[in-house]
């Protein structure tokens, strides 16, 4: 919350670096974090899977006020992206002026610096979205 707990951050690296999560083998629902039970259908049959590398921006906002960890980065853009399988992923949108943003634009996943932790100088990387150049 106000500080980064490194083991916790490390545990979520699959989704953060590769949009790798856990898909229900019965109903196909995707979860961003490890699950024992599908939250949608209750099945216990779950396998590791990755989301698509592209998607469609369905909503976005320019963040002007932030939490302590992101204060030095405002303003920045956060968007909701509909991936090929229909899952929605919230993430920062980069390489784009806010004025150029529009709903339905195609975006792709890119690995970027998310922030530098002031406390321990840890550089945190993770997925962001950027427009697909057509």
């Amino acid at each position: 919350m106000f500080v980064i707990r490194i083991p916790r951050y490390w545990r979520s690296k699959g989704f953060r670096y590769r949009l790798e999560g856990y898909r229900c083998e019965k109903c196909g629902h995707f979860h961003h974090s490890p699950r024992l039970v599908c939250r949608k259908c209750g099945s216990r049959s779950i396998r590791r899977d990755r989301l698509s590398q592209t998607g469609r921006l369905i909503s976005y906002t320019v963040v002007k006020s932030s939490t302590p960890l992101f204060e030095q980065y405002v303003p920045y853009v956060v968007g909701v992206v509909k991936m090929v399988d229909g899952s929605l992923v919230v993430g920062q949108v980069t390489d784009c002026d806010p004025e150029e943003l529009r709903e339905d634009m195609q975006v792709e996943v890119t690995l970027r610096k998310i922030r530098v932790d002031g406390e321990n100088k840890l550089i945190q990387y993770g997925y962001k979205f950027r427009p697909v150049i057509e």
Binding site: R16, S59, V63, K64, L69
Partner: protein, 384 residues
């Protein structure tokens, strides 16, 4: 099952209480509630507070409040369900009284956000979503609200004026309320000209840091008969949960947990939506007022803004909402907020709402949310 009554309330003004600690604020509201009902002891205490272990580095707030009130020894716990904690605490008390194991429960909610910075408060508010896919990537409570807001305007093809009008209604209603954080009116142009927190959500469509405490005395019918204070019947209280992040749900613009809690509440009592006299709802961001009204079936989808601008939701309208200013203008001291909501409904139903008094009130509905409905609690209160 025992019937449950609210027999008393106590409120502190919502604001910045630099000179008072969390426990002093809570004790102040609790003593007001006890004095109001003429009780000096209760069977149990249930505390609602959300951020105490972070901002005050304090747990065991049940024991702390019992000590403050000089009643150490009574059973006392703290209940947590995010921003709906106060409503979950009331539910705990209602269940305990209904079961017959206890007769009088003091429910006290308190929060002291000004012990932290504004940025920290925003971080805390965001804990009602799952952290790894929200807070950790730079998303927060108001940016999620903004994403939903933009989706809403696009889906229903509406302009911002309607949703922004919810702030105007809240301030109008709070302008005559002593315990409100912002007791003054604002116009639609003030809202729309205020800076963006996260576009399209303006500063004046959000809540600010607040301190406050509120308390209620809940009791069984036997005790209610012996007390002289005015009473209100708790006709029902329902809680439902959903995935914490709205974008994980089937439809991010539909708060299914609130739809479920409100529907089952009304059908258990056997009343229609048209019989609800007023609603105290959870406008932690303007768009949440619209999503609440639509999800719980009071207004057709996409039509809330229109309703807000038409005057239908104002104090003299057909379906008044947030009759003391709601979260926006009365204020949002998180752990205490649902207790304020219920106390305000109590004041309406016992004809003690002063300048904000509604005519012909019989059923008051309170809706409290954790985040975007990770937990939703609906409470029906009835005139006796």
């Amino acid at each position: 099952m025992q019937k449950v009554y609210i027999a008393g309330y106590g409120l502190t003004k919502v604001g910045e209480h630099w000179d008072k600690s969390l426990e002093t604020l809570m004790a102040e509201s609790a003593l007001k509630a006890l004095d109001y009902t003429g009780l000096s002891r209760v069977d149990e205490i249930c505390v609602s507070n959300v951020y105490g272990e972070v901002l005050q580095e304090q747990l065991v707030l049940g024991s702390v409040l019992a000590e403050e009130l000089g009643v150490s020894g009574v059973p006392a716990v703290r209940v947590e369900a995010g921003a709906a904690s106060g409503a979950a605490a009331i539910r705990y008390a209602v269940n305990a009284i209904q079961s017959g194991i206890t007769n009088v429960v003091l429910v006290c909610g308190g929060e002291k956000l000004t012990d932290g910075t504004q940025e920290e408060s925003l971080s805390l508010l965001s804990m009602d979503e799952r952290y790894e896919v929200a807070g950790e990537i730079g998303s927060h409570f108001f940016s999620t609200a903004a994403l939903l807001y933009r989706m809403y305007m696009r889906r229903y093809d509406v302009k911002q004026d309607g949703i922004a009008s919810f702030s105007v209604i809240s301030h109008e209603n709070a302008s005559t309320v002593q315990h409100a954080q912002y007791p003054f009116k604002i116009g639609l142009e003030n809202v729309l000209n205020s800076p963006y927190v996260a576009e399209p959500l303006h500063r004046l469509e959000t809540t600010a840091q607040a301190d406050g405490a509120a308390a209620l005395v809940l009791c069984s019918e036997n005790i209610a008969r012996k007390l002289d204070s005015p009473k209100v019947l708790v006709s029902g209280i329902h809680l439902a949960t959903d995935f914490p992040n709205p974008f994980d749900r089937e439809d991010p613009l539909h708060i299914q947990s609130l739809a479920a809690s409100t529907s089952s509440l009304l059908s258990m009592r056997g009343i229609s939506r048209g019989e609800v006299s007023f609603i105290e709802l959870f406008d932690a961001a303007s768009i949440l007022a619209a999503l609440s009204l639509e999800s719980s079936g009071f207004i057709p989808r996409g039509k809330s803004g229109e309703a807000a601008m038409s005057g239908r939701l104002s104090l003299n309208g057909e379906l008044p909402i947030n009759t003391f200013g709601g979260l926006k203008a009365r204020g949002h001291p998180v752990g205490a907020t649902p207790i304020y909501q219920v106390a305000e409904a109590y004041l309406q139903l016992t004809r003690q709402a002063g300048k904000n008094q509604l005519d012909n009130v019989r059923f008051g509905l309170v809706e409290s949310l954790a985040g975007f409905g990770s937990s939703s609690v609906s409470i029906l209160l009835e005139e006796v």
